[in-house]
């Protein structure tokens, strides 16, 4: 298994406002990409998350693993990004796996009913216990 970190950033936008969002992207072979998201995902930062995901999807991956352990805030715009990502991956016969969302993020998923359509694991061990292919 070859794994490389090819992108990690704390982005800044025009005007100097600092994004409280960090995304580390790891490619785990040709079919799988892993994103480690930390900080706040809201109307300001969600476009950056979407860009990072879209860049990965453009490479034709079949599996996207998104680690949410260190997400401090997650709102409906972030949820919208995940839903559109899932839709795109399903159209490509791919899968999206969410690892370690906080209780607050899970509450958002539950209140909006999307926890039923997402594949969610508490941690990487649980993911590997259920997935047939190793989860990075």
């Amino acid at each position: 298994m070859q794994c490389s970190i090819n992108n990690a950033f704390v982005a800044k936008v025009k005007g100097g406002s600092k994004l409280n969002l960090q995304i580390e992207i790891e490619n785990d072979g040709p079919d799988t990409t892993s994103l480690r998201v930390s900080g706040e995902v809201d109307v300001f930062t969600a476009p950056k998350l979407k860009t990072a995901i879209d860049d990965s999807l453009a490479k034709g991956i079949k599996r996207l693993v998104i680690h949410l352990n260190d997400v401090e805030y997650f709102d409906s715009t972030g949820l919208g990004v995940l839903i559109s990502t899932l839709k795109t991956l399903q159209e490509q016969q791919g899968t999206m796996i969410l690892i370690g969302p906080t209780q607050r993020t899970l509450r958002l998923f539950d209140l909006t009913g999307v926890s039923k359509i997402f594949t969610i694991y508490d941690n990487i061990d649980e993911a590997n216990a259920h997935e047939t292919v190793s989860v990075p």
Partner: protein, 161 residues
Amino acid sequence: MMTSIAEHPGQTTRPEIVTLVIPCQADYVSVARMMIAGVASRLHFSADTVEDIRMAVSEVCTDSIERASAHEPETIAGLTIEVIALVSKDSITVDVIDHIPPHAQASPGAHKNNGIAFPFEDSQAIRDALIEELVDTFSRSHERGGTFVKLTKYLDDEQAV
């Protein structure tokens, strides 16, 4: 951005009012979240309830920004979102006021603001349903060319720390 704290006139119980005015820009929503979390914490809500109030206010501000994003930049330049929190002994009421036309009156065309993704077909409906779950009362009205939202959360024995 402007903040002020004042006693609410004419109230015998002297509730307190905290007002925040932010530019109608995505990067200021986090400021509204910080403000409302600080105010809600004064009422001794549980941490989860404070987070619910914080998210509800954030979603309302996000809705304002989404509506603004449907207009040309020059149309919305200088527009603000006003967040007014009224803290009484057993509740917090938050008014969120903007001067952006509601969805039905918005200019046609794709959203333009900062490339923000709003992938829901009816994001306001989903957002409203979420807000209704997060607070005790929620109302939205359109007046004077803008939108007026009122949220209330009551302190009860279960929520109190």
